[in-house]
């Protein structure tokens, strides 16, 4: 995206504003999937981390698309979309998970994003009897 903006600015400098915008509309956008927030913080390792996550996605062609969680067969969400979509859900995991944007017509993963899990108290190598953490 950044490179496209730079490219457009370059054409604008040369006076080609209409051709720049036309080119931008014509070029197919690559599929994207992003998570906001993309990290869930729990107090300590081993605790299930809870977070409300919004997945934003963009596709290059109208069609039916699904969001699928790593190691799961059933999609979390499916919808027919033209270009952009949003999906909010409750993240619950002890470890980081990858989410895929899947083209439902051919079952191909076209984009992915990772939701990381972090801990405040990271030093958990000790045995419980020392009960520091």
């Amino acid at each position: 995206m950044y490179s496209r903006v730079i490219g457009c600015l370059g054409l604008l400098y040369l006076g080609g504003i209409s051709s720049c915008l036309a080119n931008e509309r014509a070029s197919p956008l690559s599929p994207e999937l992003s998570a906001m927030p993309n990290k869930c913080v729990a107090l300590r390792k081993g605790r299930t981390c809870f977070a409300k996550i919004t997945l934003r996605f963009r596709v290059s062609h109208p069609g039916r698309y699904c969001i699928v969680e790593q190691d799961k067969k059933q999609p979390l969400y499916c919808e027919s979309i033209d270009r952009y979509g949003l999906f909010a859900f409750e993240f619950q995991s002890e470890k980081k998970l990858t989410y895929f944007l899947v083209d439902a017509t051919n079952q191909v993963n076209i984009a992915s994003t990772i939701i990381d899990v972090a801990w405040v108290h990271k030093k958990t190598s000790r045995k419980r009897r020392w009960r520091i953490f």
Binding site: A42, L43, H121, W130
Partner: protein, 273 residues
């Protein structure tokens, strides 16, 4: 100060004797340094057990505390994370332990000092100040899945050689709710007559006016507490808590002026280094 060195020396001797009995597995774990430092910043509302001592200045309502947790070869400096007040720190050594229990010897403070300023506020300026009650205790801890019970039997040293004793027991239950850690706790502490008489008693020679001679004898304190921690970011937590303490009648009947019950509330954030 010599008293403190004596207690620490005793602790070290005791620990070296016990250390040789530890099994190999435990030695490997204890050979590694374990530490964590936290900075706690926030607001605090605190009722001093002395009736006439109040929070007056803005700064009295601000809390800035560093807490340290350090373990090495069985020795530890330990902030009590299950308690609302992070300033409560124990020094000690783990004598022995099982899968769900531990026996430690610890050094901790069982009674806050009473300063000249506190006495002035209590219209008892002529009384002598009271030192902190530094206790050496044997602590037994029993761990359950989401709970912990501790009982401590301590000899309490104060007033240049005078001794008393205290027995403290506390049960803490952890309720994990989503990303929150919620601790509910309750405990009772018994203080010997010597200890109580030293802190809130008045000798015949010091009795004047409303400050009549008073020797309350053994007493107890009951505490109930709710405390919660929430992760705000990788290094920050939100902390809030409330502790209610109830003192036995013979304590709050002291002419020095003792509150029958006190409240400690706090709301703040902690940075984990």
């Amino acid at each position: 100060m010599m008293k403190l060195f004596g207690v620490v020396a005793g602790l070290l001797l005791c620990s070296f004797a016990a250390y040789g009995q530890d099994n190999e597995e435990k030695t490997k774990d204890s050979d590694v340094w374990h530490w964590e430092v936290q900075m706690h910043v926030g607001g605090v509302y605190y009722e001093n057990p002395l009736k006439h001592v109040e929070q007056e200045e803005f700064i009295d309502y601000i809390e800035l505390i560093f807490s340290f947790d350090l373990y090495y070869k069985g020795f530890f400096i330990q902030s009590n994370r299950r308690r609302s007040n992070p300033a409560e720190i124990d020094f000690g050594y783990q004598i022995t332990s099982g899968d769900d229990w531990a026996l430690d010897v610890i050094l901790k403070n069982y009674f806050e000092d009473i300063s000249q300023s506190d006495l002035d506020d209590s219209n008892a300026s002529h009384l002598s100040t009271r030192d902190n009650a530094l206790g050496t205790a044997l602590r037994y801890s029993k761990y359950f899945d989401n709970a912990q019970y501790t009982v401590e039997a301590a000899t309490v040293n104060f007033d240049e050689g005078a001794n008393g004793w205290a027995v403290e027991s506390f049960y803490s239950h952890l309720i994990p709710y989503r990303n929150w850690d919620i601790y509910l706790g309750a405990g009772v502490t018994f203080f010997s007559a010597n200890t109580v008489n030293y802190y809130v008693g008045i000798e015949e020679r010091d009795a004047i006016g409303h400050l009549f001679a008073y020797r309350p004898g053994a007493a107890y304190e009951i505490e109930a507490e709710a405390h919660a921690v929430y992760p705000l970011a990788e290094d920050w937590t939100l902390r809030l808590g409330i502790t209610k303490s109830y003192l036995s009648d013979n304590l709050n009947d002291s002419p020095i002026g003792i509150r029958a019950n006190t409240t400690y509330m706090k709301l703040g954030v902690s940075y984990v280094f």
